[in-house]
């Protein structure tokens, strides 16, 4: 790519103002400091213009040799600093996936604040300003597999307008109608926190870890779509949205207080969205109509990606920086003490889930529905412990942290 010796280029009758620089500047850029570019030119005005231009640009104009109306100008590349914070050999892409690109240009250990928005691998001109990214250490910037998750996310984007069979929706008996609307209200409310919390951290991730910022962008788009679909479903059958509980608001406020990206990912994705996976599966199983089932099925698919990212991110940080273990545990303890007065999921949500699982309001089915709801809580707890263990916590820690998790699920 670069040559230390000399490069010969031809400029025809071009002048500085008519396109010559488009061949001269790139040639100098690819030449190492001290290397020489020789330029053949038939335009004699360059005899005067080139030396002056070289001085302005801090190159060294060596001499001009003239023969048969052709001037050959010799220019020595000036001492231009080109920083290389990131060095990999060139390659050709074959798959065009982000996973492939990341495999060829792996995450750096740390990123320089001055590289700013310069893409990984670009040579940097010196004298750059510092950018205020707080995450420039790979241990806290996301796991390497985030590229694969981003590829999955872009492949699996869907649209609430085109992919949901809204026209098939028929009015349900009133209790089920109300239950669906309440559940959708709860889901949408919690989804807002999943939209707002990660968005705060996108701008803190150094762009050298672009896979993480790009993935977070897909996550935000996912959450926006979930809110959109859940709210449409809440209104679709002539009901208004249900009730928003103080306990949900308390729980989400304490989630928003997460102080850094890792803590936010842990509380939101591993614990909150993880628990939501079981909730969404429950709603899909007991959905009274195909539209509700399809919405939560698709949302669940997206959420499992967010949870996958969360577990991998926490696992990567814990394994490379064991000291964050205490920090993460403390964050769960902080939330638990914030929410010490909360005893269970919001009552209106509990009732709505029982009615959905019952399918109607006959005492026999309600009893069955209630059993299903209690089973859901057990399932949530079991799976939360599994996810905590996958994230790198011990059995004992996982039991303890799962127990402290908010009864609001998110």
């Amino acid at each position: 790519m670069t040559t230390a010796s000399s490069t010969a280029i031809t400029g025809g009758d071009l002048t500085l103002g008519s396109g010559l620089l488009a061949v001269l500047r790139p040639a100098l850029l690819l030449t190492e400091e001290g290397g020489v570019v020789s330029l053949a030119s038939t335009n004699s005005s360059n005899r005067f213009d080139l030396p002056r231009w070289c001085q302005v640009e801090h190159h060294h104009y060596l001499r001009c040799e003239s023969q048969n109306e052709v001037d050959t100008h010799f220019i020595q590349r000036g001492p231009f600093p080109r920083l290389r914070h990131y060095e990999v050999p060139s390659f050709e892409l074959t798959e065009f996936s982000l996973e492939e690109l990341t495999a060829r240009t792996p995450f750096p250990k740390t990123a320089q604040t001055t590289s700013a928005f310069a893409p990984r691998g670009a040579d940097l001109e010196e004298g750059r300003p510092n950018f205020p990214f707080s995450i420039h250490d790979h241990r806290f910037a996301g796991p390497p597999e985030v590229a694969r998750l981003y590829d999955q996310a872009t492949k699996n984007q869907w649209s609430s307008l085109h992919d949901i069979p809204w026209r098939k929706l028929k009015p349900l008996p009133r209790p089920l109608n109300l239950a669906v609307s309440q559940v959708m209200t709860f889901l949408a409310e919690n989804e807002f926190s999943a939209l707002y919390l990660p968005s705060r951290f996108v701008s803190t991730v150094h762009p050298y870890f672009m896979e993480t910022s790009l993935f977070l962008a897909t996550q935000l788009a996912d959450e926006a779509r979930h809110i959109d679909a859940f709210m449409k479903r809440a209104w679709a059958c002539g009901e208004k949205p249900g009730v928003s509980a103080v306990s949900t608001a308390d729980s989400l406020l304490s989630l928003l207080k997460s102080r850094d990206f890792l803590e936010a990912t842990f509380l939101l994705s591993v614990l909150g969205e993880g628990t939501f996976l079981d909730l969404l599966a429950f709603i899909e199983n007991h959905a009274p109509d195909d539209v509700t089932a399809e919405i939560v099925r698709r949302a669940r698919q997206d959420e499992s990606r967010h949870v996958h990212f969360g577990i991998a991110h926490v696992q990567h940080s814990l394994s490379t920086s064991p000291s964050v273990r205490t920090h993460l545990k403390a964050s769960v303890e902080r939330r638990a003490s914030d929410l010490a007065n909360m005893s269970g999921a919001p009552t209106m949500l509990q009732d709505a889930l029982v009615v959905l699982a019952a399918g109607d309001t006959s005492p026999k089915n309600l009893r069955r529905g209630h059993d299903k709801y209690r089973e859901l809580l057990d399932t949530m707890s079991t799976n939360r412990i599994k996810r905590l263990k996958s994230s790198g916590f011990s059995e004992e820690e996982a039991d303890y942290l799962s127990e402290l998790h908010t009864p609001n699920f998110m």
């Binding site: 002048t15 103002g17 005067f48 002056r52 231009w53 600093p81 010196e126 004298g127």
Partner: protein, 270 residues
């Protein structure tokens, strides 16, 4: 203010001048040569203040340098210059459709020139054209007198000359070669319309001037700090790039000979 602080005068021809001198002041401070600067709106006042010893050193454009030399009987101290101040040239540029191929051809035509106090855009190009045998009495010289007092530092009058040629208001004009190459490189010059047909001999540009009686220790401290500024050092480089040089060089007087002759010939008040 400590009495060993060097007080330097500079003309504020653009806002970046403040950035430049604040940077240089901090650099000098770090070099153990305390320095403060005073900004002037024009070179006339700066020259007056130096001659009255109200400032220690003036960063002077060539006409101001020649004035200081004149008023001190050639005894003023020259302390240093930029590499880019050496071998400045001016250009005779013409419209391609004007049939002007060499200096003589401008007789009987309109010649757009820069401000009357611009060395590179008016004083020296006219001087050199005359030396080339052009009868200036036969030339309709139109001067763009903008930013007077700043001696052409802003380059505005040269941009006016270029615009006049592009707009067909004048078939020929004179500008300095710095504007000529930077405007070409920026794509602001239409090569189908405008070309350069003649280059003047070289001359030198700015200089740090001081009176002969300036405290020799200040002179020493100033020179030592100035020449310690190195392109290889990234923090110095930022200042050097702003001020448009790669290296500070020792002074040389012969680069102002043509300007001295021009000033006397054109009866410019000193």
């Amino acid at each position: 203010m400590a009495k060993d602080t060097i007080i330097l005068g500079a003309v504020a021809y653009l806002p970046k001048v403040v950035t430049i001198w604040e940077g240089i002041r901090d650099f000098f401070e770090a070099q153990g040569a305390p320095l403060d600067f005073v900004l002037f709106s024009n070179y006339e006042r700066q020259v007056e203040y130096l001659l009255e010893s109200k400032i220690d050193i003036a960063w002077n454009a060539p006409l101001a340098h020649v004035r200081i030399k004149h008023h001190t009987g050639g005894k003023s101290l020259s302390l240093g210059m930029r590499d880019s101040d050496r071998d400045f040239h001016s250009r005779l540029i013409v419209r391609k459709d004007s049939a002007i191929k060499n200096p003589k051809d401008i007789e009987g035509k309109t010649l757009a020139v820069g401000s009357r106090d611009s060395t590179q855009a008016k004083i020296l190009p006219l001087h050199f054209l005359k030396a080339e045998g052009v009868d200036l009495n036969k030339v309709n010289v139109v001067s763009f007198d903008v930013d007077l007092g700043k001696h052409g530092d802003t380059g505005m009058s040269e941009l006016d000359v270029l615009a006049a040629l592009h707009d067909g208001k004048a078939p020929a004009g004179t500008i300095g070669d710095l504007i000529w190459v930077t405007e070409q490189a920026a794509g602001h010059i239409d090569p189908n319309v405008v070309e350069c047909v003649w280059v003047t001999p070289g001359f030198d540009h700015c200089m740090f001037d001081a009176l002969p009686n300036l405290d020799p220790q200040k002179v020493e401290r100033f020179k030592k700090a100035l020449f310690a500024m190195k392109w290889e050092n990234a923090s110095h480089r930022r200042l050097l790039e702003l001020e448009g040089l790669k290296e500070w060089l020792p002074p040389r007087e012969e680069g102002y000979k043509s300007l001295k002759e021009a000033v006397s010939d054109q009866k410019i008040a000193l």
